[in-house]
């Protein structure tokens, strides 16, 4: 059984986000980039399925400029078998375009399971997995916190508002991962060395027959308003007083 995992390179979760002075976008100059945390969870889940003997091959795919190769190598060091880099240059891509590109890869590779993060922490769209499922006409299980595959069926526990929902789905399917699905492993140094030798295939939007007509335009980026500094109060009475009269929470 083949698993395809789509991964995105984003601004590192631990980096303080800065907005460009002209508010046109987030400032990525010299910023540390790494794999989207939800994608990391997707790769980890695929590797666990392979370790459990459920999957036989893991393919990772990432779309973007040359730098995404580094992210693909990272996923291969975690345990993916081969990579596909779709070279889209510096173009800004909307979720629909990405889903269209991924659908072509799905068509070519015919995986039984497609794993994606539920969203990327940069654009926070939460659309790609759903659009991909629609384009491929696959069943989908989003926000997965547990995935079990047996007897050509997937049982997926989903995190929904106020509880959990369990679905049973036929293969092939699309699963998007939530935070509690697993805790990704650290990458071992010997595996980093091995990953350098794993096959990494290059595609382009043209080679896949997808045109990059972006229907979404980012107009403005605004940083959140700064939190007000705390105040020190001398004693408990003053604390209660300020909670009542200033913060108005009592």
């Amino acid at each position: 059984m083949k698993i395809l995992v789509a991964i995105k390179r984003v601004l590192d979760y631990s980096v303080k986000v800065r907005v460009k002075t002209d508010h046109s976008d987030v400032d990525l100059a010299n910023a540390k980039m790494s794999m989207n945390p939800f994608c990391e969870i997707a790769v980890e889940e695929a590797v666990r399925l392979k370790e459990a003997g459920v999957a036989s091959e893991i393919i990772v795919v990432s779309i973007g400029s040359k730098a995404v190769q580094e992210t693909i190598r990272s996923a291969m060091a975690m345990g993916a078998d081969r990579g596909i880099w779709i070279d889209s240059g510096e173009a800004a891509l909307s979720p629909l375009t990405i889903a269209q590109l991924l659908a072509k890869v799905v068509q070519a590779e015919q995986p039984s399971v497609v794993l994606l993060g539920k969203q990327a922490i940069d654009s926070d769209d939460n659309q790609t997995g759903q659009m991909l499922a629609a384009l491929c006409d696959y069943p989908q299980a989003t926000f997965a916190s547990k995935v079990t595959i047996a007897d050509s069926k997937a049982t997926v526990v989903r995190e929904v508002d106020g509880g959990l929902q369990t679905l049973q789905l036929a293969l092939p399917l699309v699963v998007t991962t939530d935070l509690r699905l697993n805790e990704p492993r650290y990458v071992k140094l010997p595996d980093i060395m091995k990953a350098k030798k794993k096959p990494l295939d290059t595609q382009t939007p043209e080679s896949l027959g997808v045109s990059l007509n972006n229907s979404v335009k980012m107009i403005k980026v605004e940083p959140p308003s700064e939190r007000k500094a705390g105040i020190m109060v001398p004693d408990v009475d003053a604390l209660i007083n300020s909670l009542k009269n200033q913060a108005k929470v009592l």
């Binding site: 790494s34 945390p37 060091a77 650290y186």
Partner: protein, 468 residues
């Protein structure tokens, strides 16, 4: 303290600047060593150098004693006030006063928190390299007074290396402005360096000029499993041949056990290892990464390393660092007896083995937790109190072990306090690391800058009334 003096202090400092309530006395009367019962007479919180100067002058005139106080994260009792002293806390002198882009330096008051300084540097695209687990509470004044080291010493040096200038009020009450931010200044004795590491015994630091540096790029962390003490330094040597490491730390599996158990952190890998090394380097090119991988490969082949992981993101790097940085805080609840020792890097393996032997032979029942900045030859030896044993009895046992460990340290010309200072805790052991002649010069310097021994008396050096 007599009410008249309290009144004068109140006039000087105002309502916000003087505290005598029991809670403040408890809080400001102790540092991270919780062994001494705090008993200050009052807490002074000056807001200016002039106020600090006035306090010191008042102390000289009236014969009361002062304890300079920073973030109180010190581990040697240096900021403890247990003898009715007046605590002088720099907490309200916490402003960054100037930034000089071309000099790549800043001027700040002594009460600025270390982490604030780091963040300020970051907003300027620069870097303040002194860092350790208590940086969120410690103050730059306290860092300078203890010449704090931490996790980046191997690459950037100690606090001393960052200090370009100091403003000091001496124990005599005189104001000194030292070195003015200069890189070069060959005009005789560099008094600045006397105050760095003086533990508040010679003067109160009120301002500092600090060097900032280029921010390192893509700091990447390796955690390696190590089969034995001796292999640690082999790993260091092998990696240093290829790379400028920004950190080289170690911890034992027992130390890791506690952070994993109590903080819910994930183990780096499942392969069991008795010791771990944490390395950090600037992974700024494919060649650099290749050099690290090559060094790792060699270490595996030589049997120095059992297994290892490498951070793939800043988030992972942070989490791997937490394995090391959370140790001190995690084991604090087990009332550890702490030692902070150093020897030359080339003697570390021999030293570790010998100390381990002493401790296991004499105290087989005690649990020993090892960690430290081993790339600097600096080891933190922690002995945990058995839950059933009384605290006093436990510390008595440990003091006996100390003698042996210190004799060993002395025989290797090592230090009985690598970076935590002497304070109260190590005062009576000073002679294991410093000669009688050195100590005599230190006492003479103390008397020169602080003739009435008003500042931190009995810390570092015990008061010998005949010398006053």
């Amino acid at each position: 303290m007599n009410p008249e003096i309290l009144g004068r202090l109140h006039n000087l400092l105002g309502d916000q600047g003087l505290r005598t309530d029991p809670l403040s006395c408890q809080t400001y009367g102790r540092d991270w060593t919780k062994t001494y019962e705090p008993a200050p007479s009052a807490i002074a919180l000056p807001t200016s150098t002039a106020q600090v100067q006035a306090i010191i002058q008042l102390a000289n005139q009236n014969g009361f004693k002062l304890v300079p106080s920073g973030g109180r994260t010190g581990l040697s009792g240096g900021a403890v006030a247990a003898q009715g002293e007046l605590v002088v806390s720099l907490a309200r002198m916490n402003k960054i006063l100037a930034f000089h882009a071309q000099d790549r330096s800043l001027v700040c008051e002594a009460g600025v928190i270390t982490a604030q300084l780091q963040q300020f540097a970051e907003t300027k695209g620069l870097f303040y390299p002194v860092d350790f687990a208590s940086a969120g509470s410690s103050q730059i004044g306290g860092n300078i007074a203890t010449n704090a080291g931490g996790i980046k010493v191997i690459r950037y040096g100690l606090t001393r290396q960052q200090v370009l200038g100091l403003e000091i009020v001496t124990g005599k009450g005189e104001l000194l402005k030292l070195n003015h931010g200069l890189v070069k200044n060959a005009t005789g004795y560099d008094l600045r360096h006397l105050f760095i590491g003086s533990e508040g015994t010679l003067g109160i630091i009120t301002q500092a000029t600090l060097q900032l540096l280029r921010a390192p790029e893509n700091l990447t962390v390796l955690v390696l499993g190590v089969p034995e003490f001796a292999a640690l330094m082999q790993i260091l040597q092998r990696f240093q041949a290829n790379l400028d490491l920004t950190a080289f730390e170690f911890f034992s599996d027992r130390a890791l056990h506690y952070v994993v158990q109590d903080k819910g952190l994930a183990k780096p890998f499942v392969t069991p290892a008795p010791y771990y090394a944490l390395l950090e380097f600037e992974n700024d090119s494919a060649q650099r990464e290749q050099a690290a991988l090559q060094a790792f490969q060699d270490c595996i082949e030589q049997g120095f390393v059992l297994d290892g992981v490498m951070s793939q993101s800043q988030t992972q790097a942070k989490n791997l660092w937490r394995l090391r940085e959370m140790i001190s805080e995690t084991i604090a609840v087990y009332t550890p007896y702490k030692n902070d020792l150093s020897v030359r890097v080339s003697l570390v393996a021999e030293f570790l083995k010998a100390v381990d032997q002493i401790v296991t032979e004499r105290y087989a029942a005690f649990e020993v937790i090892w960690y430290g900045h081993i790339g600097d030859g600096n080891l933190h030896l922690n002995i945990l109190k058995p839950a059933t044993m009384d605290k006093a009895e436990f510390f008595e046992h440990c003091a006996a072990v100390n003698e042996q460990v210190f004799v060993l340290t002395q025989s290797l010309q090592g230090s009985i306090s690598a970076e935590h200072g002497v304070g109260l805790l190590k005062r009576d052991y000073l002679a294991y690391s410093r000669s009688a002649e050195e100590i005599a010069y230190m006492r003479a310097l103390k008397t020169l800058f602080d003739p009435h021994w008003v500042l931190n008396p009995n810390k570092l050096l015990s008061i010998d009334t005949s010398s006053l």
